[in-house]
């Protein structure tokens, strides 16, 4: 019957972070050389793998557009990803909604008019879920698209923030996510425009703006890490060019 507190008297969270600290964020690009594009993201214990295939000929012909490409997203949540070992199906309504949200977000970012009558497939594998899954999926997709060499307008960077009583917290883990109200926000890395926002719990309107700002600041931090990772991975390619 241990007692769980979100912030200790000293202002530390249950994993030892302070309110304004993110978990370790690591990203690796091109880890699957056989695929068009791939990326692997670790945010603390949350681990997401993304594979991008395409542009290629659409599998479902009816979905093809004459003027642009379309993005097909599939999320596969591994049954061992959470503490409760549970099989999740692709037909799960929540997963489908998230796929759709990702699809819409990235169709805005990818320069779709360059590849008419074609399809870009994004396969996301959630290997471990310790909070901020949707945010990690978005970050992984951005990197994998870049790895695949598909022209995008900007980085899409995403992070979460929440509020307990009146204390704000950045980047929640799964324990915290289940205990308080929180928000996922994705921004364009360069121009800081919000392109995606998701709130599944209820949050008082007074706090919304400050929590959003917090999440945006977190996204900027992720942007910096992602950009240096991209530059790092591009180095061998650039070297071979010159």
């Amino acid at each position: 019957m241990s007692h769980f507190e979100i912030l200790s008297l000293e202002g530390l969270r249950n994993d030892g972070r302070r309110w304004d600290e993110m978990r370790n964020f690591q990203c690796r690009i091109g880890i699957e050389p056989s695929e068009n594009g791939s990326a692997f993201i670790e945010l603390g214990n949350t681990k997401v793998l993304c594979i991008v295939d395409g542009p290629s000929e659409p599998v479902i012909k009816s979905k093809a557009r004459a003027d642009r490409t379309f993005v097909n997203v599939e999320i596969n949540i591994a049954s061992f990803s959470t503490i409760d070992v549970k099989k999740r199906f692709k037909s799960d309504r929540r997963i489908q909604l998230q796929c759709l949200a990702l699809q819409n977000t990235f169709e805005e970012i990818i320069q779709t008019e360059l590849y008419p009558r074609s399809q870009i497939s994004v396969y996301l594998h959630v290997l471990q879920d310790d909070g901020a899954v949707m945010a990690s999926c978005i970050n992984a997709t951005t990197l994998a698209l870049i790895d695949a060499g598909i022209p995008v307008k900007d980085f899409v960077c995403c992070s979460t923030a929440g509020i307990v009583e009146s204390d704000m917290l950045l980047d929640l883990n799964s324990l915290e996510e289940s205990a308080l109200s929180w928000l996922t926000v994705a921004v364009l890395g360069n121009i800081k425009k919000v392109v995606y926002m998701q709130l599944e719990t209820s949050m008082h309107l007074d706090y919304l703006e400050s929590v959003m700002n917090m999440a945006i600041a977190g996204s900027e931090h992720i942007y910096n890490t992602m950009q240096s990772a991209v530059r790092q991975s591009a180095k061998p390619a650039l070297a071979s060019l010159s």
Partner: protein, 970 residues
């Protein structure tokens, strides 16, 4: 808008980041859990003396720097030097009372390891430790040693969790020692564990047991008494272990209990000890429509009032009726551990087959203890005078009659005679007749007003410490000079109506200082009436999420004692700024109705306002003014309108089936100078009392409807559930036998009607008496959050209203503060604060204020009871009384003039020969044959009978305490 300043980079080196992996079993499943843990290097040592850690001080999300706590010049002792203390978990677990002592133990570091060990053992204790850390004067600080890279320890392969925690504590202590060495501050590790102490000493840490440490402190004698009996017990356990005989049956093991609850062999429930007999308790168990009785010391098997117990039902031939005998106060006093055969105290269990036999049971185990500190006095007979200053074992007689005597050891026994003291129970072994405890505090001499009041407040858990500075800081800066801004364009006037020209007055009890309601009425041009109820706008001053708000929430209500008032809000607000005093302008929250001739509501309107009360009446003054036909000014006429409408409203309410229940309310007349009680009088009710009451009820109902419409899930309402019919069973039976009457209790309406009909022309007081007894069958009303019950259950049974809340006394009740905030949001005056739309939080608050409300009521009653006793002191009064309960060896009488209940023992009826008593159970009757000379006679006592009693006070030899004694005059 807030901006996020400089996010810190994560620390990503391998060393500082690890996963905690553990396996847990929930609901039959085994799960592997992986949690991250970041080890930091920026945790400050919290010492004000330390220049190194100054730069590491963290900020919270509102930008406040968390200042270090530990003093730069801590306590100095010859043996240890200037030092901070690090107690281990067991010290907190067993001896928190000593650590909480206000004049000892400062500069204490509570390690995270200790916190987490305690939180898994006892949440209340954990909360007490947290409170200690928040108290600025004690300088207790938490230290997150598990997140600190220098103090973190990994559990070794062959190490138990306990050993690892001990090692973590030692590591942290040695880190502190070396960290603070240059500053000349030492560390003392407090532990009673010998092995731990040895290992610590090897590491070069100063270590001491609590007992040894305390000996160096100035108040060592008191503190030593506060060191729990458990610590001693653990120490001596190794030596004794066997050889003592068990007085009680051993409790079953927890796993056996749980298994037996599942298969129905035993039942669990909360035990309620009878106030008349501390050796009899009852447990309400599903499956039995009557409470299950547990009687006798063996059957109770160490259960204490309020414990959650497991009971096993006894065979049917041992079932019996409720409480046939009253237990005497003066029990045989035995201090030795050896078990004494129980003397003739316990009823000789006759085999009775009775029509209303209760099932009986015995306690086989205790799931959850409800121990708290108990107030009482030392039983003088147990103190050995000769022993002087050495330690001895004495017994405490608790104030609460339902609690058994508590044995504790003390070195200050002679000094404790005649004092009110607090003792906590530590353990109750099967081999010990009494529970064992330790001394906590001395409240002062018995029978003095201060000590008795303090005792009362402690017994009923009333928060009565002075308001801390943080709360007082929330008050307006202007203090008593605060005024409503003259300029009507001032932001405070926004959305506020100007009612200063309305003829508003307040009617309250004489001498009332916290006036929270005022009224007005006038005739509208269309012939209808405009009626306004104006309530002090407390929420203008008490904003959510301030320390004043949380203090008010934790106090829940103002507590009224006879000579003292424990305020919920600071004086400045309660008696001045929020009090709707006459001739000054005040902010108010107004509820305005338009009513027709028959008091039907045509329109209702709520608004924040500014009012200026024209007069503050007492009930009697208001009555006199209304009755005086010479007064024809508009204010008086308005009051007449109010009175007229209130009578119609009352009639309507009665027709709906509202209950008119009586409770014995008395007023203590006190001497103005010394506030010593002089006389007792029954409260008088005037028409003006009911005038105010009716409009307050109306306002509450209107507000309840409004906030429920606006917030169907989270409105704070008040409900009063209909009592189950079985509650009336025994009363019905008594009525049938003694008076040949019957109550219809299926609805409140029929109950109200049949109560009116139950009149005995020969005994005019009988009806009131019956109403008092009926009230005792009722359930109590409670606050709740509208989302937790279905709308039909919102009903207020006593008031016969489908929905109800408390709105009219925000100065003295926290529920009203919540209702004010919700109403303000409902009329779009302000946006709702998040805390008021969070259902789980509101449920928590409601539970809290329900508890406080109950406790405040009981404290108020106990205070009156005490003062009635004081008023009677020295005098002898003969009074009329009524029999309200009959036992085998005595009966309980109710003395209407004092609102006092008392026991008359049959043996007190004669002085020489004990009277022969025949108890006719079926008729609730005692035939007492008095054999004393000069005139032997037989006295009959029956339920509801009027008797003449003599009330005196006597000095109890054991306690040296004044006791009210009631004897029958025949």
């Amino acid at each position: 808008m807030s901006t996020v300043s400089g996010l810190k980079r994560p620390q990503s080196s391998e060393k500082n980041h690890r996963d905690r992996v553990f396996v847990r079993a929930t609901r039959g499943k085994v799960q592997k859990v992986v949690r991250e843990q970041y080890l930091r290097n920026d945790i400050p040592c919290q010492s004000r003396a330390c220049p190194l850690c100054r730069s590491k001080l963290p900020k919270d999300s509102r930008g406040n720097v968390l200042e270090p706590i530990l003093s730069e010049k801590p306590m100095f002792l010859e043996k240890f030097g200037h030092h901070y203390l690090i107690p281990d978990s067991n010290i907190f677990y067993h001896c928190i009372d000593a650590l909480e002592h206000p004049n000892n133990f400062f500069d204490v570091i509570i390690l995270q390891t200790v916190f987490s060990e305690i939180s898994s053992k006892s949440i209340p204790l954990y909360n007490r430790m947290k409170r200690l850390c928040q108290e600025k004067t004690k300088r207790f600080t938490p230290f997150s040693n598990e997140f600190f890279v220098d103090t973190f320890v990994e559990r070794l392969d062959d190490e138990s969790a306990n050993d690892r925690n001990d090692r973590a504590i030692r590591n942290a202590a040695s880190w502190f020692a070396s960290h603070l060495a240059s500053l000349g501050i030492k560390i003392v590790l407090l532990t009673d564990d010998r092995e731990n102490a040895r290992l610590a000493a090897e590491q070069g840490i100063q270590v001491s047991t609590l007992k040894d440490y305390v000996q160096y402190l100035p108040d060592s004698e008191i503190l030593l008494d506060m060191v729990s009996a458990i610590a001693d017990a653990i120490a001596s356990k190794e030596q004794v272990e066997s050889g003592t005989k068990n007085v009680y049956e051993l409790h079953w093991s927890m796993s056996r209990l749980l298994a037996c609850i599942k298969n129905g062999e035993v039942h669990k429930g909360l035990i309620n000890i009878s106030t008349y007999n501390y050796l009899e308790g009852s447990v309400v168990v599903p499956g039995y429509n009557k409470p299950v009785l547990v009687s006798g010391r063996e059957n109770l098997n160490r259960a204490v009032q309020g414990d959650i117990v497991c009971i096993q039902i006894l065979p049917q031939d041992q079932w019996k009726t409720e409480a046939e005998e009253i237990a005497d106060d003066d029990e045989d006093v035995v201090v030795s551990t050896a078990a004494e055969p129980d003397s003739a105290r316990i009823n000789d269990l006759e085999l009775i087959t009775k029509r209303n036999a209760h099932p009986t049971a015995k306690v086989v185990g205790i799931l959850k203890r409800n121990w708290r500190p108990y107030v009482g006095h030392v039983d003088n007979a147990t103190i050995a005078q000769s022993k002087g200053g050495s330690q001895q074992t004495v017994l405490l007689t608790p104030m609460d009659r339902r609690v058994p005597k508590i044995r504790f050891r003390t070195r200050q026994a002679p000094r404790l005679v005649g004092r009110r003291i607090v003792v906590a129970i530590d353990l109750w072994d099967a081999s010990s007749r009494y529970p064992e405890g330790h001394f906590v505090r001395d409240l002062g001499e018995m029978e003095t007003k201060e000590a008795e009041t303090e005792a009362l407040l402690l017994e009923y858990d009333v928060q009565h410490r002075p308001f801390p500075k943080a709360v007082l800081d929330c008050l307006p800066e202007e203090g008593h000079n605060w005024k409503v801004p003259a300029d009507k364009t001032h932001p405070l006037w926004k959305n506020r109506k100007d009612f200063r020209d309305k003829l508003i007055c307040s009617i309250d009890p004489p001498g009332c200082q916290d006036i929270d309601d005022a009224l007005h009425a006038c005739v509208l041009p269309n012939g209808n009436y405009e009626v306004g109820v104006h309530i002090a706008d407390v929420t203008h001053f008490v904003k959510p999420n301030t320390s004043m708000d949380s203090e008010a929430a934790s106090r829940g209500t103002t507590v009224y004692l006879v000579d003292k008032r424990i305020d919920m809000l600071p004086m400045l607000l309660g008696t001045d700024l929020c009090s709707l005093r006459p001739y000054v302008e005040r902010f108010a929250f107004s509820c305005i109705w338009e009513m027709d001739e028959n008091a039907n509501i045509i329109k209702v309107h709520f608004t924040k306002s500014v009012i200026a009360s024209k007069e503050a009446f007492s009930y009697a003054d208001a009555q006199a003014r209304i009755d005086d036909q010479k007064m024809q000014d508009p204010l008086t006429q308005g009051m007449r309108v109010l009175l007229k409408l209130s009578k119609i409203l009352k009639q309507k309410r009665m027709d709906e089936g509202a209950l008119n229940l009586a409770s014995p309310e008395v007023r203590i007349q006190t001497d103005n100078e010394t506030s010593d009680p002089m006389d007792v009088e029954i409260k008088q009710l005037l028409e003006t009392n009911s005038l105010v009451e009716e409009f307050m009820l109306l306002a509450n109902i209107s507000v309840a409807q409004k906030i429920y419409d606006a917030f169907p899930q989270t409105a704070v309402l008040r409900r009063h559930a209909a009592p189950p019919l079985t509650n009336f069973d025994s009363l019905q039976d008594i009525l049938r036998v003694c008076k040949g009457m019957h109550l219809k209790c299926d609805t409140s309406k029929s109950l109200a009607k049949s109560l009116d009909e139950c009149v005995d022309p020969k005994e005019p007081y009988f009806n009131t008496l019956l109403r008092i007894l009926t009230t005792r069958c009722m359930l109590s009303a409670e606050y709740f959050c509208s989302g937790t019950f279905a709308p039909p259950d919102f009903r207020h049974y006593g008031l016969a209203s489908p929905i109800y809340t408390h709105f009219t006394s925000p100065i003295r009740r926290y529920a009203d503060v919540l209702a004010h905030r919700q109403l303000a949001a409902a009329i779009d005056y302000e946006t709702i604060n998040p805390s008021l739309s969070d259902k789980s939080r509101l449920i928590e608050i409601c539970n809290g204020i329900n508890y406080r409300h109950r406790m405040a009521q009981m404290a108020g009653r106990a205070s009156i009871e005490y003062y009635v006793g004081q008023a009677l002191k020295g005098g002898v009064a003969e009074e009329d009384a009524y029999v309200i309960k009959v036992f085998k060896n005595g009966f309980v009488v109710f003395i209407a003039r004092f609102g006092l209940e008392g026991i008359v023992y049959t043996k007190s009826l004669s002085s020489v020969l004990e009277p022969n008593v025949e108890y006719v159970e079926d008729e609730y009757k005692l035939n007492i044959e008095i054999r004393d000379q000069p005139k032997p006679q037989t006295v009959q006592i029956q339920m509801f009978q009027q008797v003449r009693v003599r009330v005196t006070t006597v000095r109890d030899e054991h306690s040296g305490k004044q006791k009210v004694q009631i004897t029958l005059v025949y």
